[in-house]
Subunit: 469 residues, 3 copies
């Protein structure tokens, strides 16, 4: 039976001399605590420390990275428990078997690296997933999950997570975060993140109701633009008071637009009354991103931008399974002229910080690194989502370091809801950082002490700086 035995040198360079350098670097950073300043783990998992139910519900059903490739291979997402369709025990075992049978489709992907590490390092699996081994592996993981050592908080500690951020609705009362902060038995730091997208898109169905809800949450009348703005500022402050360090924004583009107060009020009123056309709604949305930046100058929250994804590309799949189930597809993005209005307002303002994430690799060197290499406020966000894999990370490393060095990089973010993948994701990033830095040492572009200092900074210093931790 083929073994599952992750090699200690995986992802390190093949050239023996370069690999030796990389191994020395990796030895110094592999054990550092995990800082995860942007992600999607539900805070209640940690607050309530509820045991994970089973392998499929933990590792398959909610992970669109894992399910989308099976879908592309012809598997019905319903058979994997995607989108909340509850599977019974037989269904869960069948879903797990499908996953193990499809193990070859992950070859070459980051998913393969993560899952291999999760199965082996966390659950002790030593046989390669396949139709033959599926049931035994399921049983092995299920047995582990039934023990206290595999409850969320125990794993949190075992994973070496020092700080983790969740992503939260502006109306959320953050009681899970409060509970965690108040709980002396829990040493980790769990930060909320203010994610106001829905409230900032006046062209979206149901926007006006969201604005009402926001007003209620903030205790402010959102009938006028002034009230809406105040409600947003109030909720940002609420998040900050509950530990947040950043706000996250993912719109179709990053075009920004400055409106005067009268025009803002006028557009807001038209959007509220449902009379606005698409251009007006878009104009207000673009202005609201500038407003977020202005508020960031005031309250000090870091902005992170994750733009340019066509969400729910397949309407039919969305109708059956809902959002975040694997059919979001990237589109091109333009940063230089898009962000110019925003940066003209706040780009040089003390304390303002914005981290740019992209799925459009050509912009690493064309726009992001040049921006991050001039504006003290702009950071080059680590490779994100579809690009958080070895080849894309290498492209990012080369493109950004060429132009802006390492000090303008955000450090790694895992951006995941797959809790058990967090250590593997950070490990992948650390291995690839060491691999790249070893290349620079081997080609005499850096001394080894500089590479080591940089490797440590990318894990520990950069994210603290970019996210004000």
């Amino acid at each position: 039976m083929p073994q599952l035995a992750p090699h200690p040198n995986r992802l390190l360079p093949a050239d023996p001399g370069t690999r030796d350098i990389a191994r020395r670097l990796y030895a110094e950073v592999s054990g550092l605590p995990i800082i995860s300043p942007h992600g999607h783990v539900p805070p209640e998992w940690l607050a309530q420390d509820i045991p994970f139910s089973d392998p499929t519900t933990l590792l398959i059903s909610p992970d669109h990275y894992v399910t989308r490739l099976m879908h592309s291979a012809g598997v019905d997402l319903a058979a994997l428990g995607v989108g909340g369709s509850e599977l019974d025990e037989a269904g869960k075992r069948a879903a797990w078997r499908l996953f193990c049978e499809h193990w070859p489709v992950y070859r070459g992907t980051a998913i393969r690296f993560w899952m291999e590490a999760e199965l082996h390092d966390i659950f002790g699996v030593t046989e390669r997933p396949s139709a033959e081994t599926a049931d035994a592996i399921y049983g092995q993981i299920a047995a582990a999950l039934a023990t206290p050592e595999f409850r969320p908080r125990a794993l949190f500690e075992r994973f070496g997570i020092e700080i983790i951020a969740t992503t939260d609705d502006p109306c959320d009362d953050l009681h899970h975060h409060d509970a965690l902060a108040a709980d002396e038995s829990f040493a980790g730091r769990v930060m909320p993140t203010f994610r106001p997208d829905r409230y900032l898109e006046p062209g979206r169905e149901g926007w006006s109701e969201l604005v009402d809800a926001l007003g209620e949450a903030a205790g402010v009348d959102t009938g006028t633009y002034a009230g809406f703005r105040e409600a947003l500022a109030t909720r940002r402050q609420y998040f900050k008071d509950h530990g947040a360090v950043s706000t996250d924004h993912s719109h179709a583009d990053v075009v920004t637009l400055v409106l005067d107060d009268a025009e803002a009020h006028r557009l807001f009123a038209r959007c509220r009354s449902g009379e606005a056309n698409a251009d007006e709604a878009t104009a207000l949305r673009r202005f609201l991103l500038v407003e977020m930046a202005r508020m960031a100058v005031d309250d000090g929250l870091v902005m992170t931008l994750h733009p340019a994804v066509a969400r729910n590309h397949s309407q039919a799949s969305f109708n059956r399974f809902g959002a975040d189930t694997g059919c979001d597809i990237p589109i091109a993005v333009e940063w230089t002229t898009g962000l110019q209005s925003l940066l003209a307002e706040v780009g040089l303002a003390p304390g303002f910080q914005v981290v740019l994430f992209t799925l459009d690799g050509d912009t690493f060197s064309r726009e992001i690194a040049p921006l991050a290499g001039f504006y003290p406020s702009v950071f080059a966000g680590a490779p994100w989502w579809f690009l958080d894999a070895p080849d894309a990370i290498r492209r990012f490393q080369g493109a950004v370091s060429d132009i802006a060095g390492f000090s303008r990089m955000s450090g790694f973010i895992d951006d995941t809801r797959a809790f058990c993948s967090i250590p593997a994701r950070h490990d992948l990033s650390r291995r690839l950082d060491c691999a790249f830095l070893a290349e620079l040492v081997a080609t005499h572009r850096l001394e080894e002490d500089e590479a080591l200092d940089t490797a440590r900074a990318l894990v520990a210093t950069n994210p603290r700086k970019a996210f004000k931790l």
Copy 2:
């Protein structure tokens, strides 16, 4: 005299350990039969098995890869016999000499690899092309071509071609394909491909006459949209009945648009009467691609998309030499929103398959791999045309495997009218596949048995699946 001696390890990794892995992989796939599901070899060559006339007419004049680089170096295309201007024997020898003198301009290109393999492996040339060796090489090849071993069918067999597709006009009666299929002395499979571009571009000069001709070929009155649609479906079925497995489409973009029946009829009528403006013609063209996809659901033919090339960029060169003579230049392409309407109609339909080819490398990771990694119907087409060379292929391998693994790749297509380059093109692809997979093994991302299985799949399984062979 410098030798022409292709090295057995060419294109395999330089690192000794990685190269050893690659050699083991390559040994297993280098001899597998060639499957060529998309290309431009004229079917009459095989049907009639006419001897090739001379080195220049075979290897230079019709190959725009070869002639365009000489043109950029200042050679008049007329001197190379481009565009049907018949050269006499002295002219052919002179053209061949020009090619040999320009041997250095191909350094670093895939053309160099192909041509080196063709000259050495097929014709036994052992001296490097140059002004000094040109005449001798010409004589050597000419002598070979006069023998039965170098007639098309003998080469077809020697090359190990199992299946090859041609590209054909929808009105073609496919009698060459019929003859080949009926010929018991010929064991290969030669499939036509339905290429309807000209009939689907109402904005093109002479479109209405083409629609008439299509009607005639189909035996259907194409005076109305309903008739036109029926004629297209009829001809598709005719192609399928004669062995076709795919239809090929190369328009300026891949924007798709759904029209209702009344609007389709209205636009068709306006285009037929010559009253349509450019926007109307474009709208109808974009809808017709959706119609092709709908028909593909019905008849099961695979769609291949090869968009976004500015054809005949130099009008002056086109006027002298005609189409396909080297001055087609790529432009950017957008897939995600462009294809959304088409995929909403058929993207999840059982049996529908579409293969996306691009000349815009940024879309490998940004759009194509994400689409192919979700939709069971979408395949990432192998690097195409200007990108079918080592560095671009490495970019494709990394970008697509990162996101969608290997199972969503179409497998190699040679897309060539240069018959003798076919083995070299497939060999280049196999070597580079093995080189890339060896990298993954050397960096412990795959076990060697998995790499070997993948190398075999890319040659044998993937094209069969993507093209329903």
Copy 3:
């Protein structure tokens, strides 16, 4: 104290076998004379041979590569003497200290490579820059600069510069170039470059006054378009008569447009009278680039295009420090359709030559290499500005050589105003050329004699051909 000791093998491949090949190639080209056909060194430095004043004024204040990364790290540009704000001696020493303290921010960039070479190879610095070593290094360089061996002409000779181009205003009388040409004690060739951007942008503030000034310089009445055209042709000829070989153009895009004479006159008149709208001004600008190309056919000057940069992205920074101080940010560019009108006019004209430079790396393979691989007039410009660093150069090498080989590359241009960085910039390019060619030899894509011939051509032949030297 950490040493500054640039390694002889820096930038050469890590794999021992490939490195040996690269070393052999590099040994043959490292000492060849420098040809610098495009750059920004002020001609008066050489004409007057004025001693450089101090390390900061020479190496920091005017070099936006160096200052922008410190700015991104939070340093006020005023503290670095940017934008003409004169620093006193204490200020210069403080600025130097800031630079040395920020030495780590350059890790991974080309700036680090250049500066390391400048400090070590030119000034004999052997200690790594840091807060501790800053003052001593400053003193060491200042002492050197006070000696005759470090005056501009002595360095010019020591650097092995054979030819250098400056960049000049069309109204410049070029008296520094005249003086240099007439000076028998100076053996170098210093060529002006005609850079008419400001005169070709009718939408720009103050354009009409520039047109007046141009008329005065040319001795032609620029009241009509005919006069304006004649004035441009006259000044081009003046430049050519004073040694120029090229004209340089950097607009927001490379869209070109052919207007008939009447329309050109009409638009010119409207622009001159201040009545033109933005579209009319843009149309005229796009036509003027075609006119430049037509003149280039007549006078033989090579065109170089450096488009698609958002100049002075931060208005606030521009207001404080002026242009060219680090806040120009690239934008996407489109060449294929943009240049089509221009190339239709002159792309096949004997003697016409245009070199395409880009900051949009996706266009290397998508547009530039395909264009340069067909049109005898089009050359692929070496990686430029933000892309003149190892990783981007590797992307350029792979993307362009795949499609168009090496013969269509322009050869390296340093494009710099940082005089002391010129040898390091050319050395970086030569090392990376040898590294890439060694890869091709190690993977048996080229024989070593071919690689050596190519390495020499890239340094010596290609720039002479692309720039008609």
